[in-house]
């Protein structure tokens, strides 16, 4: 894997140093990095969704795990996801510098040296997998390693810059956490965690394409072949609608395999109809494209609420214990 060339703008070297003052290099790279910059490398907002879905997988799995080991499992999922984010930022530093949304990230902004970000990501990735294996079990550790590897090698290095299906296939990496949580408790994988995987997998395309619709200019500038850039807005909106329709039975399926009861079923139906309404509006409202893709922005916001809502309701349903 050959890393892309650095094209970002880095902080200018400070004024000539007085004798005995700091090394100039220290002030340009590491001098600019705060602990917060290293936290930013972990993509904390993405991590929150990953941790939440992993936690739900852990909660829904049959059997029991010592609370201390459960906490370690969640920590490993969070750190593993963060490590993937840091390695992704290292690899994508050239295109991040070109996009408005990402140009202030620690590497393109010149606050963290690329090699430090890579080392940070690799150490955390290896540490999280090893700790998961030693503390919890090696099935969960293997799935965590697969998730990190899939995100870094399959999505970031292979698909992202080559195909508009990048987030469809690459979305699998974001869908593994509930399966990891489940495996942490049971030591294996059954139909239920596969269903939770499918739920996130089918949710990812309409979620990301809603973002891509109103960030298409950014992606085009960076040469990332997102669907709106390659196929246009109209085809993207149609694809979003198709995936949203296909997502509905997957969202309701936990009721049919005994993973959840009527409380989740009612919530999943309401949330899915809401998501479908957004997808229809994105397709029907022709003024939307002129209005800076306002409907797409709303759908993107709702998509996050939708996934959080579905997973939260799985927990509520289980806690209430109301059967059919």
């Amino acid at each position: 894997m050959s890393p892309p060339a650095v094209t970002g703008t880095f902080e200018a070297d400070p004024a000539p140093s007085a004798p005995g003052a700091f090394a100039r290099a220290a002030l340009t790279w590491e001098g600019g990095a705060s602990a917060g910059d290293y936290v930013a490398l972990l993509k904390p907002r993405v991590m929150s969704l990953v941790v939440f879905t992993g936690l739900v997988g852990l909660y829904l799995a049959p059997g029991a795990l010592h609370p201390f080991l459960a906490a370690i499992a969640v920590l490993c999922i969070a750190v593993g996801a963060g490590a993937s984010g840091a390695i992704n930022m290292w690899y994508d530093r050239d295109i991040d510098a070109l996009m408005t949304r990402t140009m202030n990230r620690p590497i393109p902004a010149g606050r963290v040296a690329p090699e430090n970000a890579l080392a940070f990501g690799v150490v955390l990735a290896a540490g999280s997998v090893l700790l998961m294996g030693v503390a919890v079990n090696w099935a969960a550790a293997g799935l965590l390693a697969l998730t990190i590897g899939f995100y870094v090698f399959v999505y970031t290095a292979w698909l992202k810059r080559r195909t508009p299906q990048n987030i469809v296939i690459g979305g699998a990496s974001g869908a593994f956490p509930p399966m990891i949580g489940w495996a942490a408790v049971t030591g294996d994988v059954s139909l239920a965690p596969v269903l939770l995987f499918l739920l996130i997998f089918m949710w990812t395309p309409p979620h990301f394409w809603a973002l891509a619709l109103y960030r298409a200019g950014d992606y085009a500038k960076a040469g990332v072949p997102m669907l709106p850039v390659v196929a246009g807005d109209r085809a993207t909106r149609r694809q979003m609608l198709i995936y949203t329709v296909l997502l509905m039975p997957v969202a309701l399926a936990p009721c049919f395999i005994g993973l959840s009861g009527p409380v989740y079923g009612a919530a999943a139906l309401a949330l899915s109809l809401g998501f479908l309404a957004h997808a229809l509006r994105v397709n029907v409202d022709r003024r939307d494209a002129d209005a800076n893709n306002a409907c797409a922005k709303r759908m993107f916001g709702f998509s996050i609420l939708y996934l959080f809502g579905l997973f939260a309701m799985l927990v509520v349903d289980r806690a209430l214990g109301i059967g059919w």
Binding site: S17, L27, G31, A35, Y38, F68, L69, A135
Partner: protein, 43 residues
């Protein structure tokens, strides 16, 4: 920004990084210390 201010900012950020690293190492040591007791207790 003057040289003195740059130096102050550099030291503040470096202290922050060092304290964060210290916290991470301390948590890791505590986790790894408790872990064998929990694992053995479960068997």
């Amino acid at each position: 920004m003057s040289r003195a201010e740059e130096r102050k900012q550099f030291e503040r950020r470096r202290r922050g990084r060092n304290l964060a690293l210290l916290a991470v190492l301390a948590v890791t040591v505590v986790l790894l210390y408790i872990l064998p007791f929990v694992r053995m207790g479960g068997q």
